[in-house]
Symmetry: C2
Subunit: 412 residues, 2 copies
């Protein structure tokens, strides 16, 4: 008998018919001889409606009260699914964050789970019941409700799976798995049978929005196998698992991209220690996330300093960069907000050389100019002009053979 | 420094502007030097929307899960008011049933409060904060959410006032007080400055739906003064208080009516012990609330047995009465679903005689036939044909001088 945690996202519980579909799926899983813990998000649109109410109330809602407000969304979902399961003759019990108890720190709106009391859930499972847990919410040490941030229900699912030592955490969403790249751009994109946690982290942070990054970090830390799949089909999805030897045979697992890239260059900055810190301190203070940073070796005591940020932050980042350039004696500030980042990802890169140069050659062959490059152990990213995004993704997908089935062993 | 509990109903928090109005009122009360505990209902319409969702999910929703669902309504209200108060610079803190903690029995959907832990609230009040409590909800001994039944927020307000030893519980609603009768029927109806708990109980159960009956019983038991008033005006409303000597000078305080009356008569039933029990047992088992019961002294070993019930139950009650008549050897069953009950209420009746006969004479003078009569210490009710309802209310209102200001002392 396996213990399975199933997490259903907002679209999967978007209306009563879809919740009924979830109920059927849960019952089938239980009837197959498994213990089932279900984690639900709020019905699609509900969280946005609540945020709208709060914004009407005040432009800057108090964070503690915001969590009291937002946590009602998941509460509604779990009540509806539980009453539906019971009406279908299946023992079920809903649990809210304060009932499980999912303990967190006091960082309202972005709380981190510190502990989970699995006893109440195990008790219910031992009685043969389906346990239905509200995702996204927890309880802080003062007894106040907290929420885990957007997409936090993924984290609830994985954290519960870790705490309960579940065999798998199934994440049901509106896509049926993780693909080698965006199927909207490359028709030949293939669904991956499995992918390592690290690859998934790179994919997610690069814009493949299938799983919340924190939930993958959690799964990696506690070695929880995640099965990303669709609630609208019976097909197997993608297993996100610990890296194994078979995975290294595949050099590149996927091609990711992000069109949300702005680049800012401060030219002829004094090339001495402490300058970079002085440029990036004000950006950090303004909560601007800086992605890539490049500083070339300088000449004549001067150097160019370049970084990228999201387009939403671009205007503010330009202002701050201009202030820094003036204060520190730089020459001028150049900015370009219409860029994109294209990346190849694969744990196989660790043991294969020449991957980066093959990427550069492939782009060059199409006349695509590379503006910036950054690399990690399992990823190479190139910033290019936005208009080349789709072309770059297509040629890289083909160049690394992602349209062909992999050599790796199939999942048992 | 007084401690005031203010309870605002669904229409008073019906939208963001109305919640803002509540916030202003709360702040004024605090600025006048009072400690304020606010109890909120769900925004008008919200509970019905949630019930609609549940009915879509299943025709017979599980009661425990229904309470999980419904309690979100008040949770949204308290979060919105608290964030609004904080944005206006007033310290505030929301409390849900499980945070206060308002402990109840396990009767989901109609739970009774067993205990309230006032410590968290007193702590907040001592810090100078406004405490905002979700009405209608509690926590059972197993840690599950319960609700107190429709209008249960009134009970939350009064129970909190009792537990906190508050000076008054203000109940804000969409009417500005308790009237001598329905102003829609009698233009001269006067707002009562005060009324006793017992009179209020009779008024409420007779159809003046200003306060939930249970909250008045609670207030009477713990001697909590209730101030019924409107959130849309600054006017004083009606104080519902312990009976005092001044009140007895007023013979009749109000005229109530209910058009929701059906009458059923079982003719020529055997006049022997146990017959009535056999007639009413099946009605009770079918959850039919029987109001008045009349059995005249029999002749020839036979008697007529008459009772009233609400119109919604009339059809089922007729069926059951027919079965009983057949089984017990009665003659026939007569029914009339188009009746009304008109009542005069006043604690002064205890010390004044002739009140009932004055009522009968008044109705007779207008040619209104009295079909049934029932009396209590502080109430006389007459069942009449429905078409006479408004006329009967008007003439009784005038006959007992309710259009004139009372002789009693004004409230200090």
């Amino acid at each position: 008998m396996a213990l399975i945690v199933q997490k259903y996202g907002g679209t999967s519980v978007g209306d009563i018919d879809r919740i009924r579909n979830v109920a059927r799926r849960v019952i089938l899983t239980q009837e197959a001889g498994n213990k089932v813990v279900v984690v639900l998000s709020a019905m699609a649109g509900q969280t946005d409606r609540l945020i709208g109410l709060a914004r009407q109330a005040t432009p800057m809602p108090d964070e503690r009260e915001m969590d009291v407000l937002l946590s009602t969304g998941e509460q509604i979902s779990v009540a509806l699914l539980s009453m539906m399961l019971k009406s279908m003759g299946v023992g079920a019990c809903s649990f809210l964050g304060h009932q499980v108890r999912i303990l967190t720190d006091m960082a309202y709106g972005r709380a981190r789970i510190t502990d989970i009391d699995t006893k109440p859930i195990m008790g219910c499972l031992d009685e043969g019941k389906v346990v239905v847990v509200a995702g996204f919410q927890g309880l802080d040490p003062t007894g106040s409700i907290t929420t885990l941030g957007r997409g936090g229900s993924d984290t609830t699912g994985v954290a519960l799976a870790a705490a309960l030592k579940a065999d798998v955490c199934e994440i049901y969403t509106d896509v049926d798995g993780v693909y080698t790249t965006d199927p909207n751009i490359v028709r030949e994109a293939r669904k991956l049978a499995r992918i390592s946690y690290d690859e998934m982290l790179e994919m997610a942070s690069l814009g493949a929005k299938v799983l919340q990054i924190r939930s993958v970090e959690f799964a990696k830390k506690y070695d929880v196998p995640i099965h990303v799949r669709s609630s609208f089909t019976e097909d197997e999805g993608t297993m996100v698992v610990r890296e194994d030897e078979g995975m290294e045979k595949v050099v590149v697992s996927g091609v990711a991209y992000s069109k949300d890239v702005g680049r800012i260059t401060l030219t002829k900055m004094p090339d001495r220690p402490g300058i970079a810190a002085k440029v990036f301190e004000p950006l950090a203070a303004a909560d601007i996330v800086v992605d890539m940073i490049i500083q070339n070796t300088g000449a004549d005591g001067m150097t160019d300093l370049t970084f990228t940020c999201s387009r939403g932050d671009f205007g503010r980042a330009m202002d701050l960069a201009r202030q820094s350039a003036t204060a520190l004696g730089g020459q001028k500030v150049l900015g370009d907000a219409s860029l994109a980042k294209v990346s190849i990802i694969g744990v196989g890169m660790r043991s294969h050389s020449g991957v980066a140069s093959q990427m550069f050659q492939t782009l060059a062959a199409e006349g695509i100019n590379i503006i910036m490059i950054s690399t990690s152990e399992i990823k190479v990213s190139c910033v290019v002009e936005e208009k080349y995004t789709e072309l770059a993704v297509r040629v890289l997908h083909q160049a690394f053979g992602l349209d062909k089935p992999p050599v790796e062993e199939p999942i048992k």
